[in-house]
Amino acid sequence: MVEVKDILKAPEGPPSDVEGIKDRSDYLRGTLKEVMLDRMSAGIPEDDNRLMKHHGSYLQDDRDVRAERQKQKLEPAYQFMLRVRLPGGVATPEQWLVMDDLSEKYGNGTLKLTTRQTFQIHGILKWNMKSTIQGINQSLMDTIAACGDVNRNVMSTSNPHQSEIHAEVYEWGKKLSDDLLPRTRAYHEIWLDEERVAGTPDVEVEPMYGPLYLPRKFKIGMAIPPENDVDVFSQDLGYIAIVEDGKLVGFNVAIGGGMGMSHGDKTTYPQLAKVIGFCKPEQVYDVAEKVITIQRDYGNRSVRKNARFKYTVDRLGLENVKHELENRLGWKLEEAKPYSFDHNGDRYGWVKGLKGNWHFTLFVQGGRIADFDGYPLKTGLREIAKVHKGDFRLTANQNLIIGSVSAQKKKKITELLEKYNLTDGKHHSAIRRSSIACVALPTCGLAMAEAERYLPTLIDKIEEIVEENGLRDKEITIRMTGCPNGCARHALGEIGFIGKAPGKYNMYLGAAFDGSRLSKMYRENIGEEEILRELGSILPRYAKERNEGEHFGDFVIRAGIIEATTDGTNFHA
């Protein structure tokens, strides 16, 4: 009989380059302090950029002007993207105003609401980074571990209906995010002018992460059924809130999800987290810490593209990982409790919460907060933030909830919404309101094709098909990413696109509307014309042949248009 300890092994092989960089970094310091002062370049060396991620930022360049600048003997238009750590996506109006101001002062004048419920500012020049980070910290937010091989921003359902449960789950998520932060003082020394305390023994620096941190990023999300807006199964570690008699009793625990993959490499695939049991709210941290240490010890540190926890779970076996988790916990998870999800999208407009407060969900196309022609979104939200006493909740679908508006204040907020023409998006088709796009070009270095800048115009054309077939109010989730890393969770979109080359996408179909089934590739490397031709034949069939209440992702499987992906391991099959 094979002992568990023999089964649990990290893959062999020389450590990847990033492992070496972390190892030499003196707990994420590297030479960041020095290179940020170098005036000869707006960039920083690659090694430091790897470390920079752990501080919530990385170097990008405006790819639109790359070739032109090369001719001008100028380096690429280097700039930093800065991502805030904002557990559950909840920000105060004061914090909103700070982000708004920093984006104007130091960024490209816009804010991006991300698919992980946080703010990103793009276009920050090196010499403005410190001021920007200090501004964020002064308003009691930070950017620690917003990227990098650590636990990232913890997501939590932006559920405005059950406001009390939302508040409770949010608190657990926030605590988790805080407690799982790296302990190194590197961030405070580099950005906040903290003096380094000499002589701390190394063993105490990172009791949980250790000096090498994790093999790869690690993501946690908490969902409150029936809403699966956070796509709980896309997380490395997902918690599904279980509510009994209006009270939060605990969470089902799901492990081993993740969206990213590499084109042409079948050892990489999106995978869904699987539910392994139930824990009480106060056990949430314990479970997370032990799961993280399993990944720390057994994750792949040799090949980064196989380093996510999902591959660790698939390699070691779900049962073995669960067993090891319970070993480390010293107690057993309870049996998972029944739950059911309805959807992973957002519900727009005003809703009344349990405490009598109102919440307005605003449709934000592509998560981009800017002043557009005839649509002064950024200005409008600034004016709202100036009078709003509740909170702002960034949703996992890149939308925004103006939350906890008292009945008295509702009138004022409504006036401002109308004055600035801000919208619940109901004049848009349901498919547009159910769309997500990652940033992609021009700033993302990984992008192979457009996403945020292109999806709206593609949807213009898809809308024509939708209208012709009477599907205007039918929600179909549509998600586009510029590369296979999956920031827009493409593999959980009923219609998904992954950039392959400029103007070319792989098209995916068959994901479940509630985020419980992955999609499968339907067509490879196709351009707009073919995309529209394909949808032009599938959507009319859906309009005519669908069963009552049948979602698009289920229909395409029943109709035999695409085979169901029953597990990430057969995503490519």
Binding site: M40, A42, Q70, L74, E75, A77, L125, W127
Partner: protein
């Protein structure tokens, strides 16, 4: 004026004939007004205002008028003109040559001459104005076109004869040009001497001239040190002389080691400020009085260790 662009005019004493358009484009200065030109022009117009303006007692007003105005303004402001195109052309100055520092080294680029030309564009009296030669090269000239050129030697702006002599180069804006040729030359020659470049301009992102070349020279050790100042990126304007002051100690040490200092670029502000800054640095780091510091710099000049190419 109802001129015909194809009208033939005589452009010089030799009697060379060109079309009016060609003559205005290539032979005559039409972007600058002078007092003598105003006086000549007055004879060709019946405009009372102009007659008044050119009277000797109004010299100040003329000076004021010609500031930022060109031939087109003159012709528009003071009609009706009694003159023919030929008569107007006859009072114009010959278009003077534009001098640019060569930004390349012959040993690095045989048969080539590189120039660093800043495109001159500004608004004046409600109209956009453009530099004659800079905009010709920036906007109208196509690859393969030719221009008349000549070389003017500058014996007072040369690399030290000894390749081991350290050099300090101060060249903000287009003043960077000769230093690019210096670096190319030192690179080709494998010169061992230390070198230190001070560069500045308005914006880091768009105005860091030859940025990638400087980065490479630094990386390869052809250039020892480089400091840059971008005046419009920060609330407080920072110029090259501020960077020099920040490093006054090291800079003075280089001078003591026999470094040669070169300044190229704007004369009125930059060269003056840098000159004063050098004196301040020598005074401070050499514990000298002002006069002593000035004579230190003067003797450097005599030894050809302080050279300027300013405009």
């Amino acid at each position: 004026m109802n001129w015909n662009a194809d009208e033939k005019v005589t452009v010089n004493k030799q009697g060379e004939v060109k079309t009016l358009k060609d003559a205005l484009l290539t032979n005559f200065e039409i972007t600058v007004l002078t007092k003598p030109l105003m006086e000549q022009a007055a004879k060709l117009s019946v405009n009372q205002e102009l007659q008044e303006l050119v009277k000797p007692e109004n010299a100040d007003k003329v000076r004021e008028y010609i500031q930022g105005r060109d031939l087109l303004d003159l012709l528009r402001d003071f009609g009706p003109w009694t003159a023919t195109a030929q008569e107007i052309v006859s009072i114009l100055r010959k278009l003077p040559a534009r001098l640019y520092s060569i930004a390349s080294s012959v040993s690095a680029n045989p048969d080539e001459v590189h120039l660093t030309i800043g495109a001159v564009r500004y608004d004046s009296h409600g109209r956009e104005r453009k530099g004659v030669c800079s905009i010709l090269t920036a906007e109208r000239l196509q690859a393969g076109d030719t221009l008349p050129i000549f070389i003017q030697h500058n014996p007072n702006f040369k690399l030290p004869e000894n390749p081991e002599t350290p050099i300090i180069m101060v060249g903000p804006g287009t003043g960077v040009a000769p230093f690019r040729s210096f670096m190319q030359e030192r690179e080709e020659a494998g010169a061992e001497g230390k070198s230190w470049m001070f560069f500045g301009d308005q914006h880091f992102v768009t105005d860091f001239l030859y940025q990638t070349e400087w980065q490479k020279w630094l990386k390869d050790g052809v250039l020892t040190k480089m400091d840059v100042a971008f005046s419009r990126d920060t609330n407080e304007k920072v110029y090259v002389q501020h960077r020099m002051l920040e490093q006054s100690k090291e800079l003075f040490a280089w001078l003591q080691e026999g470094a040669a200092v070169y300044i190229c670029g704007d004369e009125k502000h930059m060269a003056h400020d840098v000159h004063q800054t050098l004196i301040t640095i020598i005074e401070k780091e050499g514990s000298m009085g002002r006069e002593e510091a000035e004579s230190y710099l003067a003797s450097m000049q005599k030894e050809k260790r302080y050279q300027r190419d300013v405009y």
